[in-house]
Amino acid sequence: MAHEIAHAAHDDVNAHGHDLAHGHDHGHGHGHDHEHGFSHPMPIWMLLSVFFALLALTGLTVYQSQFSLGNAEIWLSLTIATIKAGLVILFFMHLLWDKPLNAIVILGSLIFVALFLGFTMMDAEGYRENLIYRSTIRASQPGATGTEIDD
């Protein structure tokens, strides 16, 4: 029966189906005409190439972790991670062909994460020197209670 429905509902979906499918075609030389209305199956070659790209990047990040580059290391591996995440989002999650709204939504959320981390970190950095480290306490005062320090 699904077929009948497909045909029944054919007309009203079609108009829309068309242009999406076309935008799609130009984009990546694949994409399925109005048979599939709003569905845009991804070509297999694309899926596979994305996957292998991801594997390669994983290998790279493991490899670079062997050298201790100090602080640069963090940024390097985070950059690689971000590239990987980008691949996943754009292709596997289909964001590239999705409604812009969804893209805005997810990017917007990242802005708020940045906000949250940003302010909290900035503050922590600011009062850092006031903090009493457990380690130093331990060294200075054996057998003292929790936050006891020597005046």
Binding site: A2, I5, A6, A8, A9, D12, V13, H36, G37, F38, S39, H40, P41, M42, I44, L47, V50, F51, L54, L55, T58, V62, S65, E73, I74, S77, L78, A81, A85, V88, I89, F92, M93, L101, N102, V105, I106, G108, S109, L110, V113, F116, L117, T120, M121, A124, E125, R128, L131, Y133, R134, S135, T136, R138, A139, Q141, P142, G143, A144, T145
Partner: protein, 365 residues
């Protein structure tokens, strides 16, 4: 997850008889595309909440890291990059199969769809298997969160606790029952049940595959460091010393950790990335890192992040199973594949999170 079900099946919604609507189209939607868009947009919103949910733990991580970098230097020794890398690969592959599943759903390639979903399920199980090995191994070293942290410098494992066995009980029961289910489906020759039972059973096996793989790699690590066994005693001297300083915790804790030492010094060689650790520790400037408030804090964050991530994996597995049943009923087609697509999105997000967890926890020292 409910979001998907909502936009998807509402045929049991007897209250509103809308005979004009095909049963896969909810009564309050006008057409298939509106339903699809609503479901998908809803899922993206849900992913937003997930991102912010995890951001809390990333924030905690960042705070600890910039307050006590030395802790990370020290603790990264306990994390086995190989296992992490393997798991990353497994998750990435599961993402591939998931994306492929969406394609097959759109193209009505039902066999392939079920294979792909099954593969995703299997990868998830394998991921958990490897995690089980990691966790149990850390617990035996006493690398526990916060106030339970009792690891000693030189981190000898306490005598074999069999945590891994405990972790395997539930999967074992499940696998067996899946097996029974599968046999049943073969006997009854019900193709629906076969298509559901098959993947489930395979997934069950994959878990133990993961466990096996994990132990193999841990063993390799061990072999790699046998040579350093010499440093033992130095290690002990150190241990006792730092441990007396430990008295600072409330009396009970102090005694607890002392007891810990005793039982430890009796036991001989543990799995030996310990030894590597001990060597580190001797050279580490700040010996105090090996305490509840330092390394303990790191492992708190480690367990929170990976643990909650694992819970998401399990959640995902449940929903994928649900998809397999729908796929076995041939419910999807080019106008109704929202459920596969949305679960896909969720699954990729779980992968997305891990892509960051892996370098942050395993690689960066």
């Amino acid at each position: 997850m409910t979001a998907i079900q909502d936009s998807a099946l509402t045929h049991d919604d007897a209250l509103h008889g809308h005979h004009e609507h095909p049963e896969w189209l909810a009564h309050h939607f006008d057409d298939a595309e509106q339903q699809y868009d609503a479901g998908k947009f809803g899922m993206w919103m849900f992913l937003v909440t997930e991102v912010l949910f995890f951001s809390g733990m990333f924030c905690a991580y960042a705070l600890l890291r910039n307050r006590n970098p030395e802790v990370f230097e020290y603790c990264s020794q306990f994390l086995n990059e190989k296992l992490g890398a393997i798991n990353t690969g497994v998750l990435l592959f599961s993402s591939l199969t998931m994306a492929w599943a969406v394609r097959s759903a759109q193209l009505r390639e039902y066999r392939l769809l079920i294979v792909m979903l099954g593969a995703t399920l299997g990868c998830a199980a394998m991921f958990l298997g490897v995690k089980a090995v990691e966790y149990s191994h850390k617990w035996e070293l006493g690398l526990l969160p916060g106030k339970f942290y009792v690891a000693q410098l030189g981190g000898h494992s306490l005598e074999h606790q069999g945590y891994l066995e405990y972790l395997c009980i539930v999967p074992l029961i499940l696998t067996v029952s899946f097996f029974v289910y599968w046999i049943y489906s073969l006997v009854t020759k019900s193709s629906f049940h076969q298509q559901v039972a098959g993947p489930l059973f395979v997934a069950g096996l994959c878990f133990f595959g993961g466990v096996g793989l994990g132990q193999m790699l841990e063993a390799q690590e061990a072999a790699a460091h046998e040579s350093h066994a010499g440093h033992e005693h130095a290690g002990h001297a150190h241990t006792e010393h730092t441990d007396h300083a430990h008295g600072s915790e409330s009396a009970t804790e102090a005694t607890a950790s002392l007891a810990g030492t005793a039982s430890i010094s009796e036991t001989g060689l543990g799995p030996s990335e310990d030894v590597k650790v001990m060597k580190e520790a001797l050279t580490t400037p700040n010996v105090d890192v090996n305490q509840k408030g330092m390394a303990g804090l790191f492992f708190s964050i480690y367990y929170c992040m990976t643990g909650i991530h694992a819970i998401h994996i399990i959640g995902g597995m449940v929903v994928i199973t649900w998809l397999i049943t729908k796929a076995a009923r041939r419910e999807f087609h080019e106008k109704y594949f929202g459920p596969v697509d949305n679960v896909g999105l969720y699954w990729h997000l779980v992968d997305f999170i891990w892509i960051y967890l892996f370098p942050l926890l395993y690689l960066i020292t």
